[in-house]
């Protein structure tokens, strides 16, 4: 139709651009919002997520912080106590450990210990995840630490439109949030997409079904969603139909979508690049075992990183991480159980 032909071609955008748009739009919408982190102003961020932000909103609202993760979080909490909403960037989520106390003891507990007097709209966000040769200290997925600290939202988007919509939702939620971005997805061409128009959010606590299937359910988040999708393609050749659920938000968790899927497939594999012991994959399996045991026809499976750090050397890195092959093999075993 001519109307479509005349319209400018909808532009596909990458995950990083989507995040950047979320920050620009929220800074515009909320004059009480600040951004702070290491190298986020003059430089525009190590990866460029905040590029142009300081030029537009000024040095007072887009703040270059000393290399002090605990102080980046703690001062953000103070600003929130005094009426602000703050995006606090970790240059890499691996370094979040240096701000750990301020996150779990100061920020996460604030609403609770003040019996609701104070709420802390602070989003601590930054790049995470392996598969890029980042080695031990630029590859971690340490989301489980924060899921184990009551009072924090924990979010991890896998697509550009979710990255934007979830970040905007997190910034408006009023609760502190630890927001895991997947740096390997920042500029990945294959996942670029046309973002929804106008102001939109993706609500926290709603999972997305990325592919429908009938024989087995893969539950995942972050870049492992793409491993699951590739495995589902592969399994199709074996006559196995896999459903892929991207939970997107760990806390709160959308259990319903998982249970509904299992009612159909009766088989569960959880895929997550964090180490296995006490990881979030185990949490999902536990909830299914407790609340939906009857739905299972086979033992649930976790495919995670081995309980090791993430090594630098490529073959070593791939050896310890979940892969399409590992998922396919586990799925074939599970459907034949």
């Amino acid at each position: 139709m001519s109307a479509i032909a005349d319209a400018p071609a909808a532009i596909k955008k990458n995950y990083l651009t989507a995040l950047k748009e979320a920050l620009f739009e929220e800074m515009e919408r909320n004059p009480n919002m600040l951004c702070q982190g290491e190298d986020i102003g003059i430089l525009g961020g190590a990866f460029g997520v905040t590029e142009g932000l300081q030029a537009k909103y000024g040095e007072a609202r887009v703040v270059d912080m000393p290399i002090s993760e605990a102080c980046i979080v703690g001062s953000a909490v103070g600003m929130a106590l005094n009426g602000k909403t703050v995006m606090a960037e970790m240059q890499f989520m691996d370094f979040i450990s240096c701000g750990f106390d301020q996150i779990v003891n100061m920020m996460a507990t604030y609403h609770y210990r003040t019996a609701g007097e104070v709420n802390i709209p602070v989003v601590v966000r930054g790049p995470a995840g392996a598969y890029g040769g980042g080695a031990l200290y630029h590859s971690q997925m340490n989301e489980a630490w924060f899921c184990n600290s009551p009072g924090l939202r924990v979010v991890c988007p896998s697509t550009p439109s979710d990255a934007k919509g979830l970040l905007k939702a997190a910034l408006r939620d009023g609760n502190p949030c630890v927001f895991f971005e997947i740096k390997e997805l920042y500029r990945k061409r294959e996942i670029e997409e046309v973002l929804p128009e106008g102001d939109y959010i993706v609500p926290l606590g709603k999972a997305a079904i990325r592919r429908t299937g009938t024989d087995i359910t893969f539950v995942s988040y972050g870049q492992n969603v793409y491993h699951c999708l590739a495995a589902a393609d592969e399994l199709q050749k074996h006559g196995v139909s896999a459903e892929v659920i991207d939970i997107r938000s760990l806390v709160p968790l959308d259990e319903e979508t998982i249970f509904t899927s299992l009612a159909k497939t009766n088989r569960l594999i959880v895929v997550n690049e964090a180490p296995m012991t006490c990881g979030f994959a185990g949490e999902i399996v536990s909830r299914v075992s407790e609340k939906a045991f009857d739905l299972l026809d086979a033992p649930p499976v976790r495919i995670t990183r081995l309980d090791t750090p993430v090594p630098w050397s490529k073959p070593l890195e791939l050896f310890v991480l979940p892969s399409v092959e590992k998922i396919v093999n586990a799925a074939l075993k599970t459907v034949r159980f």
Binding site: P66, C71, G74, S75, V77, G78, Q102, N105, T114, V118
Partner: protein
């Protein structure tokens, strides 16, 4: 480190950047102000004495962290604050919650400080505590009254205080944040991160160090390598003041200089108040403290009771005269020795009202334990 708590040490006051002050802040205090300061010292002391008595009578749960012998640090620091200023007290500073913004009337309805009722309800673990007894002892606060809610994590509220005043400045405010910290807590990484940040951004934050010579069972020379904790300021390029923590007026002078420096946009500073912890770290530690500290050390450290030092000054100034000058001899007495007769009547009555209120208040219902983990969004 010597145990000196006297003015001799204060003479060494090291100031990296000399503030431009024509006169001593205390010279501007009226006789009424000085008498009020004297009364507040009694109030802080009586609070301490009375809680220890209540605990011994089995009427209280939880550990008490005494501020006995350190009251001048609290009263002298808080007296010159404006109502809108923020404070961040720690475990040793329980009286700070009600001392804030007390000048001009303890019962003023618009006070930017907690009422004695709220504080007592917290001590007794009752529902009328500002934190509904969700955390213990000094772990309360009030956004409305500009009191930052402390946690157990030593020095953990310093970055929060810095963030609070950053936001205030952004909104065009002129508030100053006063954080209280033990000398032991200056060994925490966050202490250095937060003051470094405040110095870089010239934030109006004053870090009070209550150097009571001991951090639980560790003496100050094993916590801090410099003779004066205030010397830390040098590395941040900010002023470091030293106050005689037994002399409420000297504390007032130094803290007021720091506050004016902060308010005028010049940045943060550190005020070290030299004092001495009278008892054990908490009341659970009293017996052991008698083993790890010699009687001579304790006697020396308590030789200059802040109430006595203040009384002497008021007599010198002719503010306390005749019979009045020897009324209420609480100085030097601990909780066993002191009686209500050692304290001004209004002090005893004020606390009685707080305690009566606390005793009448309910304990929270069990299910509150699961509430307020998240702010609920409609």
């Amino acid at each position: 480190m010597s145990q000196s708590t006297g003015a001799a040490t204060a003479e060494k006051a090291h100031v990296v950047i000399e503030p431009n002050l024509a006169s001593r802040p205390q010279d501007l205090l009226t006789p009424e102000d000085r008498l009020e300061i004297f009364r507040q010292l009694y109030l802080a002391r009586y609070f301490d004495v009375r809680l220890i008595k209540e605990k011994r009578r089995g009427k209280l749960r939880g550990t008490l962290y005494s501020s006995h012998n350190q009251e001048a640090v609290l009263v002298g620091s808080l007296f010159g604050l404006k109502p809108n200023d923020w404070i961040s007290p720690i475990h040793r500073d329980m009286p700070a919650f009600f001392l804030k913004d007390m000048r001009g009337g303890w019962r003023r309805s618009d006070r930017m400080g907690m009422s004695i009722e709220e504080v007592c309800a917290q001590v007794w673990g009752k529902i009328d505590s500002p934190g509904r007894a969700r955390d213990n002892w000094s772990h309360i606060g009030s956004r409305a009254k500009h009191i930052i809610h402390s946690t157990s994590m030593l020095a953990g509220t310093i970055p929060v205080a810095a963030g609070v005043v950053y936001a205030d400045r952004l909104d065009g405010g002129d508030a100053v944040a006063l954080t209280f910290n033990g000398e032991g807590s200056t060994a925490q990484g966050i202490f250095h991160e937060a003051i470094n940040y405040a110095a870089v951004r010239k934030l109006p934050m004053v870090t009070i160090i209550e150097n009571n010579q001991w951090a639980y069972g560790t003496p100050v020379h094993l916590e801090v390598p410099t003779a004066d904790v205030a010397d830390r300021a040098r590395g941040f390029g900010i002023p470091g003041f030293i106050a005689d923590g037994q002399d409420v007026f000297d504390v007032y002078d130094k803290v007021m200089q720091a506050i004016e420096y902060a308010r005028s946009g010049q940045g943060p500073s550190i005020v070290e108040c030299k004092t001495f912890r009278a008892y054990g770290h908490g009341d659970h530690d009293d017996d052991r403290a008698n083993k790890y500290r010699s009687p001579e050390e304790v006697e020396h450290g308590r030789a200059r009771d802040p109430i006595a030092v203040c009384r002497k000054r008021l007599i010198e100034l002719g503010i306390l005269t005749g019979e009045e000058a020897s009324l209420y001899q609480a100085e030097g007495k601990n909780a066993v020795e002191a009686t209500d007769e050692d304290f001004p009547k209004e002090v005893v009555q004020y606390l009685n009202e707080g305690i009566d209120f606390a005793l009448a208040s309910d304990i929270p219902s069990a299910e509150e334990g699961a509430m307020w983990v998240f702010k609920e969004n409609a």
